[in-house]
């Protein structure tokens, strides 16, 4: 069921002739109840797939926005169990939108990889992205994911040459995540012109859809990437909306979902614009 949720979604989007919009939100940010309200509202606001970050104390590949989001979530007591509870609650109302968990390996090792894959699958998780587990270290994780029908999604980067890409895409499924800038999340901006040939290269090497993320903040940039990639991921810009709404004492859910709607709309219209110009 799980892997096929991702495959079905990309097949449907291909038929529609458009890219997916993939918001990244941090589980439990700014608190569990609000985060769940956001999660439940995402498909309605235009999310095609959802990435849910699970917080870690030392996120070495994240820039300040996601570091702070993780700190907010941890300070409110969010855990890996809490993250799975959120996904389970989301699944009660949505059986079709794929959910991918993204984070770091130590909480998973603490849980036990095999047990975690089983419990995540039961909660309705479709894929895992573990930032600090490259192919060299991911054998046991890949086994656990295979046993429980979860896609282990790998990252390709500007530093991946052709030989490296072969290693990266082995034992991966669902899609490949292309990290569009050498850097941490939420700092440098992705350049659609530089990204296009890289996406094509990753697609050729993997035979899978390619999502692009790290460094996409505005609807304009999202649209530009949507013309060349199969999916557009936005994370830092969304967690910044959470921070901003909390600081201004605004309705966090409404603020985040309106940003999601604007980004999703830009992605939906991106290729239509292209057809008319």
């Amino acid at each position: 069921m799980s892997k096929s949720r991702i495959e079905a979604r990309f097949a449907a989007l291909k038929a529609e002739g458009r890219a997916a919009f993939v918001p990244y939100v941090m589980a439990g940010d700014p608190d569990a109840a609000t985060a769940l309200a956001i999660l439940k509202g995402l498909p309605g606001a235009g999310a095609d797939l959802i990435e849910v970050g699970f917080p870690f104390s030392d996120p070495m590949a994240e820039g300040p926005p996601i570091q702070r989001a993780a700190q907010r979530a941890l300070s409110k007591g969010m855990t890996l169990q809490g993250t799975l509870d959120q996904v389970r609650a989301f699944r009660e109302g949505d059986q079709t939108t794929p959910v991918i968990l993204m984070g770091y390996t130590n909480p998973l090792i603490t849980w036990g990889l095999e047990a975690f894959a089983r419990d995540a699958s039961a909660a309705g998780v479709d894929g895992l992205i573990i930032v600090d587990t490259p192919p060299e270290e991911s054998g046991p994780l890949a086994d656990a994911c295979d046993a429980h029908d979860i896609s282990l999604i790998r990252l390709a980067t500007p530093t991946s040459d052709d030989a490296r890409l072969k290693v990266v895409v082995a034992r991966t499924s669902g899609f490949v995540y292309y990290v569009s800038v050498a850097g941490v999340t939420g700092v440098k901006e992705a350049d659609a012109e530089a990204v296009a040939p890289q996406v094509a290269r990753v697609r050729r090497a993997s035979g899978l859809p390619v999502a692009v993320g790290f460094g996409i903040k505005t609807p304009e940039r999202a649209a530009a990437i949507a013309r060349v990639a199969d999916a557009v991921v936005v994370g830092s810009a969304l967690v910044d909306e959470v921070a901003e709404a909390v600081a201004l004492n605004e309705d966090v859910t409404a603020r985040v979902l309106s940003k999601v709607a604007a980004l999703a709309k830009a992605v939906r219209l991106a290729r239509q614009d292209l057809a008319t110009v």
């Binding site: 917080p55 870690f56 104390s57 030392d58 996120p59 070495m60 590949a61 994240e62 820039g63 300040p64 570091q67 941890l74 855990t79 890996l80 770091y104 390996t105 130590n106 909480p107 998973l108 090792i109 603490t110 849980w111 036990g112 990889l113 930032v131 600090d132 587990t133 490259p134 060299e136 270290e137 054998g139 046991p140 994780l141 790998r154 990252l155 390709a156 980067t157 500007p158 530093t159 991946s160 040459d161 490296r164 990266v168 990290v179 050498a182 850097g183 941490v184 700092v187 440098k188």
Partner: protein, 411 residues
């Protein structure tokens, strides 16, 4: 292998044969880094292997260690300290006499030559006490390379003289305010810099931790300590010591002393971790004595962490030991039973600091003082007629403000 075995791990025939090709010491070690860094880490591994096998590289390094660092460092018989405890003869390996005042420069000299060989033009480092930062800034000044040192904001505050020394040497010190604002956060920030500046930057890690090949490479560069000690004690006493002892933060001075003795069954190997306010207080930095295996900063090793696998802050009077992890080789030596890891509290270390100052006229680094806090027990345990060697990893001048504050004095 992700999670460590609960079964008793195998005892190796040859300790020098580790890590294996995957960068593992038993289960520990590995390369848990973001994909962007993987090609760089592989490049580094290959470049280091080539340099290690290159006689020209080794000769150049040896030359700088003699004429710039001031090696070999003396092995000194501490007569009054020995007399004070009334047990085994205590020898001190005088790493505090190296240029810049600690063992850190041994590793920095090796890595800076490697960085230049690799054509890197920008050097970054993390530092806790500031000793590694100073040593890195020093070699960068010597070879004319720009140097950026990440340092926790808390450590910037408690190690001000070293911050100023780094500035004098031309380095830029970037205070890190994320997390606990200490050494682990400085390391996170250095890794983030490396991921962002992959084309020209060399990350000069200061301890035998992090992703492969750093634990092995830093150990190799520090193993000069143990090789010299071995030759010196054979010369002075005609036999090997009964025990070798060192403080353990990330574990570089310790593994440097230990490694050349690992295959000598008769030599006890003893590391001393920082117990902060006490192992039971929850405020300490003793990864082996108070933690369990997990993944941080690229390797599987013993870590301070909560039930959820979130990393916990370390606490120690010593900025250089204030780290929630430990190098993977130490985790393995502990599990296979080859090494023993004791601990010393802040208070015990302060007492040891004063004792060595008064008895031998040597102000030890507060890091080193942790090993000194256990040396009396060890010397008595080994007994009269025995020989123990303690690695005097650094000088205490940088710590006089900290010590004064704990004595309730202002200077």
């Amino acid at each position: 292998m992700n999670a460590p075995n609960t079964a008793q791990p195998a005892i190796p025939n040859d300790y020098a044969a580790y890590p294996d090709a995957r960068g593992r010491f038993g289960d520990y070690g590995g390369q848990y880094v973001p994909e962007t860094l993987m090609p760089l880490v592989h490049d580094l591994d290959a470049a280091y292997a080539a340099a290690k096998a290159d006689e020209g590289f080794q000769a150049e390094l040896a030359d700088y260690l003699i004429h710039y660092v001031g090696r070999p460092s003396p092995l000194y018989f501490a007569a009054r300290l020995t007399e004070h405890f009334g047990g085994a003869k205590i020898y001190l390996k005088r790493e505090e006499l190296n240029h810049t005042g600690s063992h850190k420069i041994n590793n920095c000299m090796g890595q800076i030559l490697l960085a230049m060989r690799m054509g890197k033009t920008r050097i970054i480092a993390e530092t806790g006490a500031g000793q590694h930062g100073v040593a890195t800034a020093t070699v960068c000044a010597r070879f004319g390379l720009p140097c950026i040192v990440y340092m926790g904001a808390v450590d910037v505050e408690r190690q001000k003289p070293n911050v100023f020394r780094m500035n004098l040497l031309g380095a830029e010190v970037r205070p890190v305010t994320s997390g606990s604002a200490t050494l682990k956060d400085a390391m996170n920030e250095a890794l983030r810099d490396w991921v962002t500046n992959v084309h020209d930057t060399y990350y000069l890690i200061g301890t035998a931790a992090g992703m492969h090949p750093y634990p092995a490479m830093v150990r190799d560069f520090q193993a000069i300590i143990g090789r010299e000690t071995r030759a010196q004690i054979l010369e002075m006493e005609g036999r090997l010591p009964d025990a070798v002892v060192a403080c353990v933060g990330g574990g570089s001075n310790a593994i440097g002393l230990f490694h050349p003795f690992l295959n000598d069954e008769g030599v006890k190997i003893i590391g001393v971790e920082a117990a902060g306010s006490g192992l039971d207080s929850g405020r300490h930095a003793a990864a082996i004595n108070g933690g369990r295996p997990g993944v941080l900063h690229g390797n599987l090793t013993y870590l301070l962490q909560d039930r959820e696998g979130q990393i916990e802050e370390a606490h120690s009077i010593s900025a250089g030991l204030d780290y929630p992890g430990i190098g993977p080789e130490h985790s393995w030596l502990h599990d296979v039973g080859r090494a023993t890891y004791l601990s010393a509290t802040d208070a015990e270390s302060l007492d040891a600091f004063m004792l060595l100052s008064k008895l031998e006229g040597i102000l030890p680094a507060i890091e080193t003082a942790h090993a000194l806090a256990r040396i009396g027990d060890i010397a008595k345990d080994v007994g009269k007629g025995g020989i123990v060697v303690l690695n005097l990893s650094g000088r205490g001048d940088k710590d006089v403000n900290t010590v004064a504050a704990h004595l309730g004095r202002t200077i």
